[in-house]
């Protein structure tokens, strides 16, 4: 920065800053409109008026400090009185007494200190004029000169190798911190992971949480089944797989079921299976109203109509819940015909991309 522009700028600032210091209320024309009322008249406190008043305050402050001490002692006593063993009652009393002791102990110190300061220490108003923020010209030129001398001394201008090495080292140092941080965010960067679930052709439907297999005659009208793929409980990444594969199973009166075009054989005698992962931001949609056949999401109240392809009838979700095509195998158990035909879960832009090597 050249010294001339620096000077110009600071002269401007100096003018304004100076006038502010001299008369705080002199801002443009309002200087004449308002008169500086000055400080209000000092009113003495009770404790200033008589030594007895001051003595009283002293006793109050001491009392509050005393209560604080008492509370701290109670906290320590609580630690010994209620050993943290297996009984819930002791855990409760232990945390309660330690917490109260600690809290009241510290609060007491604070309250006593403030009361002391407000009622006993001097309360006479004191004014400290603010000095100009700009330092004088001599100091400023000296400071600039110091910086210049330093740069000169380091020879950084003459030694480009050192300059490059320094910049490189500084730029690399944070990477050891940033890379693991970002890397640990997801574990996997493969967004296609949401496209596939554990469901395969022939995977049996099992009851959540114990994994009992399900026969169609057990799914009576009006009942609702929370379903996981058979074998989920033994799978390696149980929770990750479960989060994607959870399904809700209901049997509808065939007269109420509006079969979706192209999905004529996806249900079994009125039994339909839908993904339980909300298409809004992925909460488990599981509040099923038996009479309206509406399925509600607890997070933002999206409502899906199970009789009509789980289409959205209310709320922020934008697409129907994916349907799991089901049938019955030779042994009479409900099985999946395939995986879901679309990605389950939130409607991200990623799911618009065609799936590579698609094979259901």
């Amino acid at each position: 920065m050249s010294s001339t522009t620096g000077k110009d700028l600071t002269t401007g600032e100096h003018g304004t800053a100076g006038s502010l210091v001299n008369d705080p209320l002199a801002v443009g024309e309002s200087a004449e409109a308002f008169e500086n009322p000055g400080l209000p008249e000092h009113r003495h406190r009770l404790s200033d008026a008589s030594p007895a008043g001051a003595k009283k305050v002293e006793r109050q402050v001491a009392l509050i400090f005393g209560l604080s001490m008492l509370a701290s002692i109670v906290g320590v006593w609580g630690y010994f009185a209620f050993p943290m063993d297996a009984t819930l009652g002791n855990v409760r009393y232990s945390t309660l007494s330690i917490g109260l002791g600690l809290g009241l102990g510290m609060l007491g110190i604070g309250v006593a200190a403030i009361h002391w300061a407000k009622a006993l220490m001097s309360d006479v108003e004191q004014v400290d004029e603010r000095h100009a923020q700009r330092s004088d010209d001599q100091t400023r030129t000296d400071a600039v000169q110091l910086l210049k001398d330093g740069a000169q001394d380091s020879q950084i201008g003459r030694r480009p190798l050192l300059k490059g090495a320094l910049v490189g080292a500084v730029a690399l140092a944070p990477l050891a911190f940033v890379v693991p941080l970002v890397g640990n965010l997801g574990g996997t960067w493969n967004v296609n992971a949401m496209r596939h679930t554990m469901w395969r052709q022939g995977t049996r439907l099992a009851r959540d949480p114990d994994g009992a297999l399900i026969r169609p005659e057990q799914v009576t009208i009006g009942s609702v089944w929370h379903v996981i793929p058979d074998g989920l409980n033994e799978s390696e990444h149980m929770l990750e797989e479960k989060a994607k594969a959870i399904v809700l199973l209901v049997r509808l009166d065939p007269s109420e079921l509006k079969v979706q075009p192209g999905r004529e054989d996806w249900s079994w005698q009125g039994i339909v299976a839908y993904s339980k992962v909300c298409t809004h931001v992925g909460c488990p949609v599981a509040l099923y109203e038996q009479q309206t056949h509406h399925l509600l999401c607890p997070c933002h109240q999206s409502t899906f109509d199970i009789t009509d392809g789980a289409k959205v009838v209310f709320g922020p979700a934008k697409r129907a819940l994916p349907q799991l095509p089901i049938t019955v195998d030779d042994e009479g158990y409900l099985v999946a015909q395939s995986d879901f035909h679309e990605a389950v879960g939130p409607s991200t832009w990623e799911r618009q991309r065609p799936i590579r090597g698609e094979d259901y």
């Binding site: 026969r215 057990q218 009576t220 009942s223 929370h226 109203e289 009479q291």
Partner: protein, 263 residues
């Protein structure tokens, strides 16, 4: 002998006889395999007659003289079983006082004996789920930990994690379970009253139902909330009110006091 048998096989009555045998076999197998309805209280003819009288005086105006239901007003009760009647009447939901999005629980209108009589009569109209035995709803025989798993999967989304209840759509709600008796809880799972789905014995087995009851009873124990006041256990609403009104209020009061001049 063999000849006689062969002759009999060709007899005109053979198909009829075979048919009868087959029916007998199916019936016998069904009687053995079918879930035996709780034979808790066998209802006497007197009881059934009393139930019919009570029904016709108190329920027939909506459900019809023989419980056949009336379109758009009240459902048919043929085949709902005694469990549904006991649940609806003992929780005071039926008879319904006024039309509303859903029938709320209120003080029951009938005594325990009258309720039993009503249930006994309705049970004679057609087979349906019957009320559980005392043993089936004995929380002390259940496994509360397993009950929690089942409750979390099937019930908690509507009834809240510990059964405090929650809202549904258009004025409907899942009621709090804190004052529901074990028998009523069992019957509700079995029959799926109003908006609630049915959880039949294949979905939640009778043992698992008892586990659920054990879990819910645990929530009522004196030390159920070791963390202190649970503020109704309804989550962010009451906790938020507490933080914003009481907590923030105390902070503002402290700030005002610190800034005020001592007198």
């Amino acid at each position: 002998m063999v000849k006689a048998l062969a002759g009999a096989r060709r007899s005109r009555f053979a198909p009829v006889l075979l048919m009868l045998l087959a029916l007998l076999a199916v019936g016998g197998v069904y009687a053995i395999a079918a879930p035996t309805p709780a034979a808790a209280d066998t209802s006497s003819p007197d009881q059934i007659a009393e139930g019919q009288k009570l029904f016709q005086a108190n329920c027939a105006s909506c459900h019809g003289m023989s419980a056949e239901g009336r379109d758009g007003i009240a459902p048919s009760l043929i085949g709902v079983g005694s469990a549904a009647v006991h649940f609806q009447v003992s929780t005071g939901r039926m008879p319904m006082a006024a039309s509303a999005p859903q029938a709320p629980a209120k003080p029951p209108q009938f005594t325990a004996a009258q309720t039993k009589a009503l249930a006994a009569w309705v049970a004679t109209l057609g087979p349906g789920p019957s009320s559980p035995t005392a043993e089936q709803v004995d929380a002390s025989l259940g496994d509360a930990a397993n009950g929690m798993l089942v409750f979390r999967t099937n019930c908690a989304m509507c009834h809240n994690a510990i059964g405090a209840g929650g809202a549904l759509s258009q004025g409907k709600f899942a009621p709090s379970l804190f004052h529901t008796t074990p028998q009523q809880i069992y019957e509700a799972m079995l029959t799926g009253p109003q908006s609630m789905p049915v959880f039949n014995d294949a979905n939640i087995t009778p043992e698992a139902k008892r586990d659920v009851i054990a879990f819910l009873m645990e929530q009522r124990a004196d030390n159920a909330s070791p963390g202190g006041a649970n503020l109704g256990a309804i989550g962010p609403v009451s906790e938020g009110m507490w933080v914003w009104i009481v907590g923030m209020g105390a902070l503002i009061a402290a700030a005002v006091w610190i800034g005020a001049k001592s007198s």
